[in-house]
């Protein structure tokens, strides 16, 4: 699978391979254009900044430099230093400043360069922004978006302090919404929804997906912040995943289709609040569930998903719920041991075969 993981766009020789056509979200005939995940986020930011002048961006090196991953590139030229605002290295204060601006009518989109650094900002995220509306009895709301690239990609060697997947830290905190798109289409539609939403929204971007391409409609659209998305319908087993793992799930589904196993893939593109109904309905139909997350296994997202299956589909289960998750380890630098720290299609294939026995 390494070849499949190594390059995001054309993924080597093994067939089936991970190519954009694994996921098509725009109906034929609908006027559309192709974008990378990174471009889709940028397009959403650009359109919302044009539409609403209360929207502005703040973060480290997001100006001329365009941010660590180039997401904000060219926005500085178009909107200038006021609305595409470089900050000092002050993560907690970047988030707190976004909160303060949001309290008085702005709609800030803040960036923390790597989700790992949010360890410095958890107070402003979880104790202040998430709770202010409640603590004040509804006197205010905090309409910001916090963009944080997360996760890894085999062979990238970003090591222990630049590769984590931490959605659970936020999803466990009431008052926050947590979004984690897997495709350009979802990234654009969810970013627009996040910006227009009146709550603090954690917007997680899987770094390895930035170069992934896909079609998005030409016309303006937003996606609900309250739904899981069925990326592939199937009757035998439900694979629940989010972010980059959705692609591995889709690829696994292709491989398994060749073995006559019909896989349904549920994309938890909004991690919180969790759309329990879609997960429950899917497993009631298939009777089997495999839960996949890039995040560390222990106390990770798959635990919550598993209990949701338990609560909504126990009587329908024909096999134990199985999870496929990240190794409980800091992310190593060396490729030889970084290999396998995150799940891939083969792991999912094995797990699905297991529950089909």
């Amino acid at each position: 699978m390494t070849t499949i993981e190594k390059d995001a766009t054309s993924l080597g020789s093994t067939t089936p391979v991970m190519t954009p056509d694994l996921i098509n979200q725009v109906g034929s005939g609908v006027p559309s254009h192709e974008l990378s995940y990174q471009e889709a986020i940028r397009e959403a930011l650009r359109e919302e900044m044009v539409r609403d002048e209360s929207v502005f961006l703040l973060g480290e090196d997001i100006g001329v430099h365009g941010g660590a991953f180039g997401v904000t590139r060219t926005l500085f030229d178009q909107f200038g230093p006021e609305r595409v605002r470089n900050t000092p290295i002050s993560e907690n204060t970047i988030v707190g400043a976004a909160t303060g601006a949001a309290l008085v009518g702005m709609r800030p989109v803040a960036e923390i360069m790597f989700v790992d650094f949010s360890g410095l900002a958890m107070d402003q995220i979880a104790n202040q922004a998430a709770k202010l509306r409640f603590m004040t009895g509804g006197q205010c709301s905090v309409p910001w978006v916090l963009r944080m690239p997360q996760g890894g990609g085999a062979g990238k060697s970003t090591a222990a302090q630049h590769s984590q997947s931490l959605e659970v830290w936020y999803a466990h905190i009431p008052g926050l919404k947590v979004v984690f798109p897997s495709t350009p289409y979802d990234a654009k539609g969810l970013m627009k929804a996040a910006i227009r939403d009146d709550n603090p929204v954690i917007f997680l971007e899987q770094k390895f997906l930035y170069s992934f391409r896909g079609s998005v409609p030409d016309e303006d659209y937003v996606l609900p912040l309250s739904e899981c998305d069925v990326k592939r319908t199937g009757s035998d087993v439900t694979v629940v995943a989010s972010g980059y793992m959705v692609w591995h799930a889709m690829l696994a589904a292709e491989i398994l289709a060749g073995e006559g196993i019909d896989v349904e893939v549920v994309d938890v593109r909004t991690v919180s609040p969790l759309d329990e109904d879609t997960i429950g309905a899917s497993v009631r139909k298939t009777g089997r569930a495999v839960l996949v997350a890039e995040a560390c296994r222990s106390y990770g997202p798959t635990g919550e998903w598993g209990m949701v299956v338990m609560e909504h589909a126990f009587d329908y289960l024909q096999a134990p719920i199985v999870r496929v998750a990240g190794r409980d380890s800091p992310i190593p630098f060396a490729n030889s041991i970084e290999a396998g720290v995150w799940p891939d299609s083969q792991d999912i294939v094995k797990a699905v075969r297991g529950v089909m026995e």
Partner: protein, 319 residues
């Protein structure tokens, strides 16, 4: 100075209002009628009133765990404040916040944040919004002496000074962070010197002197509104009561506290007003009496109002 007699009497009234409010709150707390904690502002009234008298309604303050005084000084109603502290639906935060989290947006208080230093970044962000929208309002985050040692404080002053934001950082040096004397938590005598790290004015005033605080704030606010950026204003007073109502105070001598009571800002300001003929002691007695009555009815109002209905328990979690 540009402040008339009526305004001076109003400053006096708010100081007395804060004092009486805190006495009532401490009393209710000791009798178990207030839950959680009460952090009295007693001894610091001149700081909050001096600062807030220099502000407009649209200017926003950000408070701390010790913000009954800040809110009352900014114009919040004692009855709705007391209702909040008693956890009633009629409270400013509908009973969700309590003593440590009183926000009163209608009078320009964006909230009391009980995590020390956490109000600083939020006030900086609100000031950024004012600057971006071309509004001339200022924001005023309050912190204590101990709060100046938090990372938030440094990051916030650095960011605000870099962007020349309209912020007046009020550092209320009451000498202690809980049991820790500020001298044991920093290596400097004069906290206002920290302004140098941000290239902004650092001003130090007698926090027992409401007029001195007022004048220093007027200057800082003028600077901020003029686009010249933030000021660090250190008001030096003393926490005359325990850290919280009922706190044992094992870390300081009774005599030290007794000595400081001689600086009680309320009688001294009263003397100034009387001696300078701003108001007769009869007039000031009347103010005292009116305030006492207002507090009595505030407590009655608070006690009489209902707790939040349990059916509303999940309101306000999401917008």
């Amino acid at each position: 100075m540009g402040i008339d007699n009526a305004a001076k009497v109003e400053m006096y009234r708010r100081m007395v209002l804060i004092r009486e409010f805190e006495i009532a709150a401490m009393d209710l707390f000791k009798r178990g009628e207030i839950k959680g904690a009460v952090h009295p502002y007693i001894g610091q009234e001149a700081s909050g009133v001096g600062v807030c008298t220099a502000l407009e309604v649209e200017d926003l303050i950000a408070g701390t765990h010790r913000s009954h005084g800040h809110n009352l000084a900014k114009g919040a109603r004692p009855d709705r404040m007391m209702a909040e502290i008693l956890g009633k639906e009629a409270g400013y935060c509908k009973g969700r916040g309590g003593s440590m989290h009183i926000a009163a947006f209608d009078t320009g208080s964006l909230g009391a944040l009980a995590v020390v230093g956490s109000g600083i970044p939020i006030a900086v962000g609100a000031a950024l919004a004012f600057q971006m929208k071309g509004q001339s309002h200022v924001t005023v985050p309050f912190t204590g002496d101990a709060g100046t040692n938090t990372g938030n404080w440094h990051e916030g002053l650095n960011m605000a000074s870099t962007w020349k934001l309209p912020v007046v950082f009020v550092l209320e040096d009451n000498k202690y962070g809980v049991s820790t004397n500020i001298r044991d938590a920093t290596n400097i005598e004069d906290l206002s010197i920290r302004a140098k790290s941000y290239g902004i004015p650092g001003v130090r005033v007698d926090g027992f002197d409401v007029l001195a605080v007022y004048e220093a704030t007027v200057e800082a606010v003028f600077r901020a509104r003029s686009g010249d950026g933030p000021t660090l204003l250190v008001t030096e007073s003393y926490r005359l009561e325990g850290h919280y109502a009922g706190e044992p105070e094992v870390y300081r001598e009774r005599s030290e506290v007794a000595e400081k009571w001689k600086h009680d800002p309320i009688p001294s300001f009263r003397r100034i007003l009387a001696d300078s003929g701003v108001a007769s002691s009869d007039q000031l007695d009347a103010v005292d009496a009116a305030v006492k009555a207002e507090i009595v009815s505030a407590v009655e109002f608070a006690k009489a109002s209902p707790e939040p209905d349990s059916s509303t328990r999940v309101d306000y979690i999401y917008a």
